[in-house]
Amino acid sequence: MISKLFQFLSSLRLTVVLLGLGVVVVFFGTLGQTSDGLYVAQERYFRSWFAYWTPHGSTFPVVPLPGGYLLGTMLVINLIVAHFTRFKWTWSKSGIFLTHIGIILLLLGQLATDMLARESIMSFREGDTRNYSESSMDFELAFLRSAGSNTLDQVVSIPASRLKPGAELRQELLPFAIRVKEAYENARIRLRAPVMDSNRPPAATQGVGARIVIDEQPPTRTMDARNVPAAVIELSGPSSLGTWALSGELKSQTVTVEGTEWRLEYRPVRDYKPFALTLLKTTHETYPGTDIPKNFQSRVRLRNTESHEDREVDIYMNSPLRYGGYTFFQYQMGKEQLADGGRGTSALQVVLNPSWVTPYLGCILVGVGLLVQFLMHLTKFIARRKPRAA
């Protein structure tokens, strides 16, 4: 029974089936991007154990598929078991051996990247300094209290995922409890029009919430738009502090509790760094007489007070800054309206990927392995043909 299982797990037949399913899943995962957007399609087809492909406009799943995790795991098992049972190590198979080790490394590396890599955005105007980057997907509810003039703000932050309607949240540093009344994945806010919105109460009783209403929007899936979440919460300290409207579109609001001012912000999750970047100058060039971008470039000043580093760096397409385990890529660029002095703005993509080196290693192994194997085939083939040609 066990030997049969090993036979199955090590068989070439399984390899072929897995490769074929791989083709199918990657194909549907690509098609899925047209309706779901890149991120959702990735989650659904590649970062999953099972997936269903649903044609555009249809509501019921039609084609059941194995997910990327399942296929990857099975391939790794297949390879490893095959090498321990079926394969006999010989020099003539060294190329295949190298190739397979490389493939295992690539698959595991991709898994590690999935688990460990973090992407965020650092956006600023010329002259601004940032020591944090912001998530492009996730939001947090932050309460900030200034702790005297010389020290940094005290921050209590709560991830947006915990803001579920009905939830009650407490945190010992906060002098009040938070009760979530409404939460939206994507919403727009607008000023409440007294006549038109006569049948809709304001979103909240306190702060700017008393003058606005929240319009829920369908969650967006496209690459060039993002969800802006919103929520309505009730704060209750010793006495009720009323309800507050939160939205990624709103600036900070202030709530005073027992003489202390707390600022309330619903903002992208921040990732603080032990160093700071200052945007000095942005350059945006196009080819003459066209809108085709030729170059985007940000000149930044990098300062690290601990290591006493202070230098200027140019970040542009295909030339990122690698520092402190992070990589900073030129992502977007723009210019503000003239009224603000026309300062250039720049957004850098910040990536933290501790396993970045595995694909390089894996690729070298597979490349060398394939080359060795096929060169051996070729030399054998030519050697066999020569006497016939003569």
């Binding site: 690509t30 003459p288 066209t290 890529f329």
Partner: protein, 671 residues
């Protein structure tokens, strides 16, 4: 005689090709010299000849202008070069507007614009129409419907054939208008005289302008109105964003210092940036300091000497003065040489030579002829037929290579920079592999595959070239010769190899099913070829895909992003690996591998073209309905071939009992 035949035939074709390299003589107007003059368009320096050919291709799908499209070829219709057409459009638009150069095919679009039906008596062929035939109402209609389509069907995959035809025609008309205002405003009659008038009006006009801006007392309203009237005419031409005609008077290699004629004309008075600022053109506002500087410089800048040269050429051509035009062209050339424009003039000369040589249309013809000779070999086993085919393919390969090198030199780039050049390069790679196969087996199979793929990819490239310039500048992300030379080249060779394997398999099925040519020996050698090529394809598509991942890691910080094009390349790798493993595991035999390899054609086409049509991801070029149809037809044809391949071999003509005799044929031939 038969031994010399291959060389004689090849030499004839070589003479035909060399003939195209002879410089063309201009019997009357110096159109050749004019076509070599430099201009900046699409962000790159190019000869007028390229601008003319690419624009005309965009408008009428051919790079020459047939002025009498209603006549058949044997009635000798008047055909003029693209350069002559463009020169006429730029300097005598009222003449060019009467030429039927717009190709319109869609019946509903013709009906909407009330374009005449075919009627030879009235000079209508029902396909080509002139600018005048659209009229004011036609122009307005096409503009409105295009805007309507762009607003209501933002997603280009929602558009139907009519929508695409409408947008295509609208783009062609916009381009036509841009070109019309390149040298001077389209209603100019005597350009030199007009410039003289304008220059005369500048001093008084500028004085009035300064007085008005500083608010110091009264100013001469008439003088200001006069200079402003001129300036506004030139300003209006800028709105269409015509090509940049005027080189910087200081010379140098940089293309960014080139100006449009309108900008050069505005320099001596207000200057284009200031005028745009004053006219409140969106996104053209100047900061207060820049505006003040602009006002200070009004009336101080000289007029570029190039403007005078252009005026001389335009006026002479307009008045049909052959000698005057030719002298003016020479005069401008002398002026350009004095500018130290660096490599610019050299480059435009070479590019014009490349255009008129048209290497890839020559190789396409050679591939057809060579294919016929390789078929001849199978059906009567004449070695001279194969040799002829071999030499022709070798000749074509040399021309193909030279064409690629010429493009690389002109662009200063590795061979593949866009979809067009990828088609050319896949053809080149496939022909190279075919020649290698032929050197081993000498049974015309490598030649047949080389010629079929070589020709087909050139048909694809020709259709892609209908979109306009094939050497457009690269976006910032792609602006790296290192990755273009490694990732792109290798992955494209992987495409080429997979196609070669697929077409070898097609040959196996077609020859085996429909003819008695296939023998078990030939089947075995085909199967070896497919296997060898698949190994090569796996290596190249894997290494190429991975290099793409490394490029992405260097540029965006992620090795693998599941972008459609990346996925396409991955599918090719997976599919090739599948075939190899299926063979090693004994799951498929000769015929099975062939069917899998034919499916590889579908996989590769999906990766090469299909993924670009999805309209998502980094490699998206938008939906092209023509390409989509072509892709579907190709996929359908491959499915039919696979279906044939699935029919048991006993029913194939080559392997049926009746073919028993044929199996002995090679033995007889070699004896």
């Amino acid at each position: 005689m038969k031994q010399r035949l291959p060389l004689i035939i090849t030499a004839l074709f070589a003479f035909w090709i060399l003939g195209a390299l002879r410089p063309q003589r201009d019997p009357e107007y110096a159109f050749g010299a004019f076509g070599r003059l430099p201009v900046v368009f699409n962000g790159r320096l190019q000869p007028i000849d390229s601008l003319a050919r690419n624009s005309l291709t965009r408008i009428r799908e051919k790079d020459t202008a047939n002025l009498e499209p209603v006549k058949s070829w044997y009635e000798r219709p008047k055909i003029i070069s693209a350069t002559e057409w463009l020169l006429t459009l730029m300097t005598r638009p009222e003449v060019a507007d009467g030429w039927k150069v717009f190709r319109v095919d869609h019946p509903e679009l013709k009906a909407m614009l009330k374009l005449p039906e075919p009627n030879p008596a009235a000079g209508e062929d029902g396909k080509h129409y002139s600018w005048n035939q659209f009229g004011e109402t036609g122009l307005k209609q096409i503009e409105e419907s295009s805007r309507n389509i762009q607003e209501n069907k933002k997603d280009s995959s929602l558009r139907n054939a009519f929508d695409n035809a409408t947008l295509g025609l609208y783009e062609a008309m916009t381009l036509y208008l841009r070109l019309k205002n390149t040298v001077h405003p389209q209603d100019t009659v005597g350009f030199a005289a007009e410039i003289a008038d304008y220059q005369k009006s500048i001093p008084a006009g500028v004085k009035a302008f300064q007085q008005r801006m500083t608010g110091s007392g009264t100013f001469d309203t008439n003088a200001l109105t006069e200079v402003f009237g001129h300036a506004e005419r030139y300003f209006v031409t800028l709105r269409g964003e015509p090509p940049l005609l005027i080189p910087p008077a200081s010379g140098g290699d940089a293309t960014f210092a080139w100006q449009r004629m309108g900008e050069a004309l505005l320099d001596p008075s207000f200057g284009a940036p200031l005028l745009k600022h004053l006219m409140r053109v969106p996104k053209a506002e100047l900061s207060p300091e820049a505006a003040a500087e602009g006002i200070r410089l009004v009336g101080t800048r000289p007029l570029s000497p190039a403007v005078g040269h252009w005026a001389a050429m335009a006026d002479a051509f307009r008045e049909s003065q052959i000698a005057g035009f030719n002298t003016a062209v020479t005069g401008y050339q002398t002026y350009l040489e004095s500018l130290r424009l660096g490599k610019a003039l050299n480059k435009t000369d070479r590019e014009q030579l490349y255009n008129s040589f048209a290497p890839f249309s020559k190789t396409a013809a050679l591939y057809i002829v060579a294919f016929l000779f390789s078929c001849g070999f199978w059906f009567n086993f004449a070695e001279w037929s194969r040799k002829t085919s071999l030499h022709l393919v070798q000749l074509a390969f040399v021309v193909h290579t030279l064409g690629l090198i010429a493009r690389m030199w002109l662009e200063g780039r590795p061979p593949v920079t866009n979809l067009y050049s990828s088609a050319i390069f896949i053809g080149w790679g496939a022909v190279g592999l075919g020649l290698i196969l032929e050197s081993f087996w000498k049974n015309a199979i490598g030649l047949a595959v080389a010629t079929v793929i070589g020709f087909s990819t050139q048909v694809v490239a020709h259709n892609l070239a209908l979109g306009g310039d094939t050497m457009v500048m690269l976006q910032a992300v792609l602006d790296t010769n290192f990755w273009l030379a490694t990732h792109v080249v290798i992955v494209t060779l992987g495409y080429a190899a997979t196609y070669v394997a697929g077409f070898l398999a097609i040959l196996y099925v077609v020859l085996g099913f429909f003819t008695k040519v296939m023998t078990s020996d030939m089947g075995k050698s085909l199967s070896r070829m497919v296997y060898g090529i698949l190994c090569f394809a796996t290596l190249f598509s894997f290494v190429g895909t991975v290099l793409g991942g490394i490029w992405a890691d260097q540029s965006w910080g992620r090795f693998w992003g599941w972008d459609p094009k990346e996925n396409g390349a991955l599918i090719i790798v997976l599919w090739n690996a599948l075939i190899l493993h299926a063979r090693w595991g004994g799951m498929v035999r000769e015929r099975g591998i062939m069917n899998l390899a034919i499916f590889g054609n579908i996989v590769t086409s999906w990766s090469w073209f299909g993924t670009n049509l999805l309209g998502v991801g980094l490699h998206s070029y938008g939906f092209m309905s023509g390409a989509f149809t072509a892709l579907m037809v190709f996929v359908g044809s491959q499915c039919v071939l696979i279906a044939l391949g699935l029919i048991p071999q006993a029913k194939w003509r080559s392997f049926s009992a009746a073919a028993g005799g044929a199996a002995k044929a090679p033995a007889a031939a070699s004896a």
